[in-house]
Symmetry: C2
Subunit: 214 residues, 2 copies
C-alpha cells in the first residue's frame, strides 16, 4: 500500500534538522549542511551531481537509494524550495537544484503565494500549493497513484504533517554532529502517542539510520 | 588528567533520559527502563546482579565496562538515590541497589535534606550534600583524587552540571526506543556553544554509543 514517508531525513545528535539563520548562503541554516555529510559521500549524491561512478557504495548509499525508491510525488516547504520570502517577485527562482532537480516526479511546494507550475528537466514539475497541507497531500497522493508520497522537509513541514497524523513511516539519519541550535524536529511532539515505534536501526558508515513506523 | 564524566547514560532516540511520572514503582519514570535495555543484556549488569558468567560480551558490554573504569567518585541526584521526597522520615531507605551498590567508591547525593553518611558493603559510602552542586563536585573531586568523577544522573543533575560548564566528557547510549515524553536531556541546552564535539560513535548490539567531549 502506498505510504506517506519521510526518508533519509538527517538530524543532528541533539535533534536538529537544520541550523539557525537560514538564508541564500546557508540554505540549511548555519552549519546545517553538517547533518548531511553522510549523504554527500554517497554514490547517490555523486549521481545527482552527474558523477555516476563516484562516491561510496556501502550502507549509507543503500539507505540513500532506498529513500528514492517507489516515490511518486514529493511535498516540501517553501524554504526547501528556495530563499525567496513573501510574494514571488518573478519566475526566476527555480529551486536550489539547477535545471534538472533530483526528484523526477511531481513536487508540491507549500506556499502562501500562488505561482504557475514550473516544469523542469528530468520529470520534475513543481506545483505551488496555497490552500494548505491537507490539499497538498491530497494532490500529491493523486499524482503518486500507487506509489509513496515523500515529505521532503524541512523541519516545519514534517512537524505539521506529523501533528496531523499523516505520516506512516520515517527514515531518519542521525549524524554524529551537535548543532546546539536550529530547527528541532521533535520538540514538543510525542512520537509515542502518535503511534510510532522503532522498527529497526542500521549503522551506516557516517550516520545511524533509524526506521520508525506506525 | 582526571575528568568529570557522564558515562553510559542512556537516552531514547527522541532525547529522553527518563520517562514521566517517576515513583517507587517506576524509578525511571513510565517506560523509562526501556532506554536501558542494552545495558540489562550485558555481562556487566549480570555481574552487578551476582551472575558473573551471564550476559553479552560484545560492544555494548565493552562500553559498559569502560563506563566504570577509572571512576573515583560518583555524584547523583536524589531521585537516582531513591523515591523519598522531602525530609528523610528515617534512615531506612538505602538506595535502589540493595546492601552492595555497584559503585564501590564514595557517592555524593544531592539533596536539600541533611543525613549522616551511609556506609554500604563493597566500598560505597553515600554522602548527602545539602550545599549545592559546586560543593558536591568539590567533595567528589577530593574523594576521587587522581581518578574521574562520574556524574551518574538523573537528567536534572546532568543538566545542572552541563550548564555550569563542569562536564568534560559524555558517553551517551542512544537506545532504539521512542519515549515521547519524560525528562529531555538537552532541551534548551546548546551543546555546541558549551564546546562539545562528537569524538566518535560506536554501534553496539542494542544501542548506539556516542562519545562527546570538549
Amino acid at each position: 500500500m502506498a505510504k506517506v514517508r519521510v526518508a533519509a531525513f538527517s538530524i543532528s545528535l541533539d535533534g536538529f534538522g537544520a541550523g539557525p539563520r537560514q538564508d541564500i548562503n546557508n540554505p540549511l541554516g548555519v552549519r546545517g549542511t553538517e547533518v548531511h555529510n553522510w549523504f554527500f559521500q554517497t554514490n547517490v549524491f555523486e549521481k545527482i551531481k552527474g558523477q555516476a561512478s563516484g562516491g561510496s557504495r556501502g550502507v549509507d548509499n543503500d539507505m540513500a537509494i532506498r529513500s528514492f525508491e517507489n516515490v511518486g510525488a514529493w511535498i516540501m516547504g517553501r524554504n526547501m524550495f528556495g530563499p525567496v520570502r513573501g510574494p514571488w517577485p518573478d519566475e526566476e527562482w527555480k529551486g536550489w537544484w539547477g535545471e534538472e532537480p533530483p526528484f523526477h516526479v511531481p513536487a508540491f511546494v507549500l506556499t502562501h503565494h500562488a505561482r504557475v507550475p514550473l516544469e523542469m528537466m528530468g520529470g520534475t514539475t513543481f506545483y505551488f500549493v496555497t490552500d494548505g497541507i491537507e490539499s497538498a497531500l491530497q494532490q500529491a497522493k493523486e499524482a503518486a497513484a500507487a506509489k509513496d508520497v515523500r515529505i521532503g522537509g524541512g523541519v516545519a513541514t514534517i512537524r505539521q504533517y506529523l501533528v496531523a497524523g499523516a505520516i506512516d513511516e520515517m527514515h531518519l539519519a542521525l549524524s554524529p554532529v551537535l548543532l546546539g541550535e536550529g530547527e528541532h524536529l521533535f520538540a514538543g511532539i510525542d512520537l509515542h502517542q502518535l503511534g510510532f515505534k522503532v522498527e529497526r536501526t542500521v549503522a551506516g558508515e557516517n550516520a545511524m539510520h533509524v526506521l520508525v513506523n506506525k
